[in-house]
Each structure stands twice: as C-alpha cells, then as structure tokens.
Amino acid sequence: MAEQSRSEEPGGRGEQAGMTAGVIRSEFANDPDMREIVEMYVQEMPERIGRLEEVWTGQHLDELKRLAHQIKGASGGYGFTPVGDAASRLESTLMRLSEGSTQVTLEQMRGQFGDLLDMCRRVQM
C-alpha cells in the first residue's frame, strides 16, 4: 500500500516541502489569538509522529488508542480538522478491536494508521 511505504520513508515531509497541494494548514493560521499556539503545535508534530511510530512498532495498541484519542481531541481545536478526523477513524477501529469485534482487519488498521501519519506529516502553519 502506498501509505505503508511512505510511512517507512525518512524525511517524507521534506520531499513535499515545495508543494502547496498536500500541505495541511491550520484554519486559524491568520487568527492573531491563535497564531502562537498553532506554531507550537506544529513544532511538536515530529515528536508526535515519532511517538506514533514507536507505539505502532511495539504494538502497544492501548497506547496507540490513547494517542489517537488525544490527537482527535486537540488537533481540530488548533485548526487541523483532517488530522482530527483521521485520528477519530483510527480510534474507532481500535475501540471496536478492544471490544472484541472480529470485523476489524489488519489492513484496515494499518491503512488508517498510515492515513494519520500522512496527515501529521503534511501539517504546516
């Protein structure tokens, strides 16, 4: 899957640096009240991405669910709705999994995880 190979690429964000398509900007980038904290959120993204990758590799699904939950709860507030939506989808899938659903497939989880990582990488002011 395309998403999977991109998630294993180092510096994936750097390759898109010149492109405006694919970049996810905050809805509040021009709001003077919000500018400073949106910048902080963006600066912390690499750390968030690193944490997601670490948890995925270690297969700590409970921790992954918690991270997805946090990203869902906050990123919309910072103006990155698509990121929140991707986190929400992943969280729902992980919740269904922990409730014992047999409908959840590995492909589904991997795909949604990849989507979330992708969104996070595309975040800019």
């Binding site: 009240d33 400073e36 959120y41 869902k72 709860g73 990123s75 507030g77």
Partner: protein, 313 residues
C-alpha cells in the same frame, strides 16, 4: 473559602497539555480568571483554598477519571452549586448520561467549537450566580434583612467550635421586645412590623462590623459577638437597650417600647460545653431580665460554679 474576588474563577481539569494551551488562548478575552490542573487530585486540593465559579472537566483521564472528580465535587458542601461543564472526547450517550446523572451541568464534545464553549460557560456562570443569590436569600429574614434562624444556627455552631478550638473570647446576646403582643393588639400588626424593623435598625446601628445580628423568631433576636468577652458584650447590649427605650414610634409616639437582653459570654470559650448549652444560658439570662422587671440587660459570665447574673448599665 469565599468568592468575594472580583472576577469569577474558571478551573480546567484535563490531562492534555494541548487542551490547556488551547483553552487558555480561546478564553483569554473572557471576563473570568482561568486556572488549570492536569489531574483530579491537584484540582480538588486547590478547591479547598478557593471554590471556583465553574469547573471545566475532562472525563477520560488516567488515575482519577472525570466521573470520580464529579463525585468528589458533589460530596463537597461548599461546591453544591458549582457548575461542572464536561469537555470530553467520549461521545457515547451513556457517558453523557452518566455524567449528567452524577451532577454535571453541561457537556461539550471535543473537538470543540469555541463560540459554543464560551456561550455555554457564560450560561452556566449566569445560573451559578442566581443560585448563589438564592442561597443567600434563603438565609435572610424578609422583613428585617437580618440573618434568619437557619443562618444563625449555622453561624453559631461554627463560632462556638472555633472559639473552643482556639480558646477565644465569645459572647451571645438574646434580645426580646417587651410586651410585643400588646403592641400588635393595641396598635395593629403594621405597627408591630414597624417596631420589628425599627428594632433591627437599632441593632445594626449599635453593633460592630464583626458582630452577626439575626432575627431568631417573631420578636426575638440574637447577636453573635466574636472575640468579645461578657463585659464588652454588655456595653453593646446596654447601647441597644438604651436606644430602644429612647426611640419614638410614629404610629404611637406616646407609647415607648423596651427590650430585655440576656447575654452569655466568656473570655475562654474552651470552658463552655457546646453551642446549644450556651444558647440556653443566654436564654436563662434573658428570662432573668424579663422577670427582674424588663428593660434591662442581664449577663452570665459563664464561669464555673457561678450562677449569679449581673445587670448592665
């Protein structure tokens, strides 16, 4: 634990630093102070020092979750009417129902719309303000504006407990209008009401800022005098007695009204058994004033083995 500060205090409890930053930025221009804590125990600790006007509470927190925090807040008498607005990423109906049933006032799901959050906070603060006014009004006597019996009982118990703990001076005066029934019967109830109101005004004018005046019953009043021994209390009692005896009443200028006063006080409160016994001693002093001829102040200095009451003035 007072709320006499000028700006209301809104407290946020959420384990996510991202949310703290966001809420601080979004509520920066609102007319209230904002404080934030990353867990329930820290917030509950802070509430002991200052009760907030509103709590913004996350449900899904590690350790003590939001539901446990709601329970703890509801178990705190001083926070009985403090609104709790839930901010949560938990969107299931059952979580909302559980939160509301535990006592939450409102529920906003993350990610929030900030105009909505601001509006809901304003709405909850309006309700809290009205509830506080209501509680205050429930402790006030309608005719005189003095504290009512319920308020008196609460304050008196508190003052005695503190006086005993710290060995303070404390005095209680019980005041009763002489022949009040006669005034109502001869001059009518409006005249009686005017006398009650006039008496309350005289009491207010005669006591110090630290004293607490209450209307205990029909024509019976109490004054709690903290940090005051029986001798100083008798000065206050005598001031009131004299002012009443000299007052001229528009509805019956030829008929003066007097009061009898019983005071029970001590310079060392730990020597006295309890609030109820103390009130009884003040009542006995009042009884002695009535049966000694009325229009007088009788004092019980609450000394062990001393039953002789002395008269003031």
């Amino acid at each position: 634990m007072s709320q006499e500060q000028s700006k209301p205090l809104v407290v946020l409890v959420d384990d996510s630093a991202d949310v703290h930053r966001l809420i601080k930025a979004r509520l920066r221009s609102e007319p209230y102070e904002l404080a934030s804590y990353v867990n329930g125990p820290d917030a509950l600790d802070a509430f002991k020092a200052r009760v907030p006007s509103l709590v913004l509470l996350d449900l899904d927190m590690p350790g003590m979750d939001g539901f446990a925090v709601i329970r703890a807040i509801k178990a705190t008498p001083a926070m009985a009417s403090t609104p709790i607005v839930i901010l949560s990423g938990l969107t299931e109906s059952q979580d909302k129902v559980a939160a509301f049933d535990l006592g939450a006032t409102d529920y906003v799901t993350k990610p929030f719309d900030f105009s909505e959050l601001r509006a809901r906070i304003r709405s909850a603060l309006r309700v809290e303000h009205l509830l506080r006014l209501l509680a205050e009004r429930a402790e006030v006597d309608g005719l005189t504006g003095l504290a009512n019996r319920a308020a008196f009982n609460r304050r008196w118990t508190q003052e005695v407990a503190e006086g005993q703990r710290y060995g303070r001076k404390l005095s209680l005066a019980v005041l009763d209008i002489d022949h009040f029934k006669r005034i109502n019967d001869t001059f009518g109830h409006p005249a009686g009401d005017e006398v009650i109101q006039g008496f309350a005004n005289i009491i207010n004018a005669s006591i110090r800022d630290c004293d607490i005046a209450c209307r205990y019953g029909g024509e019976e009043f109490c004054v709690i005098m903290p940090e005051t021994g029986p001798d100083d209390a008798s000065v206050v009692g005598e001031r009131i007695r004299a002012a009443m005896a000299q007052a001229v009443w528009p509805k019956h200028p030829e008929h003066t009204v007097t009061v009898s006063v019983g005071i029970a006080g001590t310079v060392a409160a730990e020597a006295v058994p309890d609030a109820a016994a103390w009130l009884e001693r003040a009542d006995k002093a009042l009884y002695a004033a009535k049966h000694g001829g009325r229009n007088r102040v009788m004092i019980d200095p609450l000394k062990a083995g001393v039953t002789l009451l002395k008269m003031a003035g």
